[in-house]
Amino acid sequence: MTVESTAARTPRRSAGSKAGTTGTKRTTRTTAKKDAGAKGTEPQLVQLLTPEGKRVKNAEFDKYVAGVTPEELRGLYRDMVLTRRFDAEATSLQRQGELGLWASLLGQEAAQIGSGRALRDDDYVFPTYREHGVAWCRGVDPTNLLGMFRGVNNGGWDPNGNNFHLYTIVIGSQTLHATGYAMGVAKDGADSAVIAYFGDGASSQGDVAESFTFSAVYNAPVVFFCQNNQWAISEPTEKQSRVPIYQRAQGFGFPGVRVDGNDVLGCLAVTRWALERARSGEGPTLVEAFTYRMGAHTTSDDPTRYRGDEERQAWEAKDPILRLRRYLEASHHADEAFFAELEAESEALGRRVREAVRAMPDPDHFAIFENVYADGHALVDEERARFAAYQASFADEGGN
């Protein structure tokens, strides 16, 4: 871009400069060849725990989980089990008509718990609408997540209470908020980090590309955590990218790493590494957690229309909870009593969530007009008053 430095009245983006540009040559191919742009850069996958539950050595990332105690391992297992139980309960509640919609995280527990447990309290999280496991790690009461899916609010928790921003439904928008927040952290001279969650589908959004640009240019302390769960509703990742998503980072000037998203230890290690980079002034990092959405996109979706069951079965063998259980058992870090106790805790959580949702009241009618503005607005006041008068007009009829 040229910078206009003459008269202030001269418009900057002259369309005239495009004169003489000829049309680009088109090819007839409509779909990119698989990995055509990624020759010689075969995807590397960080994995510390195999699907069979075997701990494998990794020269680069082992040090980030070297101090993880058996108790912490059991904690990670517990987090994943309870998150899955909560998620299953929410799916049931939707089927029972208690929720209007639910976006299940089934299969993505390791990606969310591994990354979520890497965070410090002063770090800040910008989630999509599926980060129930991360919310759990942040201490957000699971029942608070259900308000928007029940239709009683559009958010419902104080983002600053747990440094966990509201769920964002417009795909990719939150990556820019995370970047701006991280720019603010850097301005404040704090050593907190920010993490932005998004998915493989979101990687196509302009906002995600712009957040990569801004964070790179300003060296913002942000970790971009992409859960590549292979499907954006019905579209496979090949419809989003010609290269593995983590390799996108290179073009923006910061590192990208692909981690086994079903390996909670791997996710913990890689996220710790990325957060450490952010804290030490090394700027943004892209983490691609390679995982799988075991269920439907949401309860409104029907995956049988676009994917086969074999794929799901293959991923079932890589289940994040099962592999940690195998490891815990083989290394004698957990006994039967632990698993039994967790089972009971899990059922209690399900009950609590069920009861809380059923008891969740509908909002007051006047909530429509609440908080539209911080400093008020004459039109909102006028419409609220009219609505009140309209409501009051039913009083004589013995209605509401």
Binding site: R12, S14, H177, G206, D207, S211, F214, N371, A374
Partner: protein, 325 residues
Amino acid sequence: MAEKMALAKAINESLRRALESDDKVLIMGEDVGKLGGVFRVTDGLQKDFGESRVIDTPLAESGIVGTAVGLALRGYRPVVEIQFDGFVFPAYDQIVTQLAKMHARSLGKVKMPVVVRIPYGGGIGAVEHHSESPESLFAHVAGLKVVSPSNASDAYWMMQQAIQSDDPVIFFEPKRRYWDKGEVNTEAIPGPLHKARVVREGTDLTLAAYGPMVKLCQEAADAAAEEGKSLEVLDLRSISPVDFDSIQASVERTRRLVVVHEAPVFFGSGAEIAARITERCFYHLEAPVLRVGGYHAPYPPARLEEEYLPNLDRVLDAVDRSLAY
């Protein structure tokens, strides 16, 4: 201290004062730093306040507004510049789906003190996308406030108030009036941000306008006076909310209303004003509320813009039509 200065300079001075008085205020935008903005509105600010407070951004409008949302969440008060009216649309998603709704969806827990400055309107002979008036597209969105000053003094004070507001404010700057000079008293006590102002009193008809069209309406009132017609001119100053009380009070006196704006008339702010004033003043009106504005066509090439934009004759024609009822 009262001083005569151009409207662009008044905004510059107002931004400077905000930067001085609150270290959470940031200026962001394309070319706002060394260059001082393509209209020089941010001239000298980066030199005096540094690159961390007056920030040259990548050329990505959604990124500018999206990161401003994040900075506001961190406690900052970003004042972002969109270089020209027609370039705001890449940011429209962030403005409408995120910036406008954040306060409501957080149940009031999160405030969004962000000002989006947009030089707007035509009359400067520019190329495509540099002369548009998209204010209705923002006024239609709950959660946003939309204002436009018509003169240097208002520009100074309305910018102060917009920056102090805890709500997002879309601040439309009338670019063809950037070089118009006016008296600015930086020690005055300003009136409320969203209150209209009677610029000139009259008895026969009310002309309501904002931003660049206020001056035109004053000229129309001068011309009408020579023909013995007394026109009242109202500077609305705010498009969301609109100060309907002040319009109503004026129309109850004059019984006739013509709304003037550069934006297309179809679904424009004049349409909403006409509907509401008709409701409020039905028994006072002697004529239907008339509107003067752009046509339902893309903003034309510069050599046609004089025909597209409201001018003295078109305003006076509407005045005559109203008075003929």
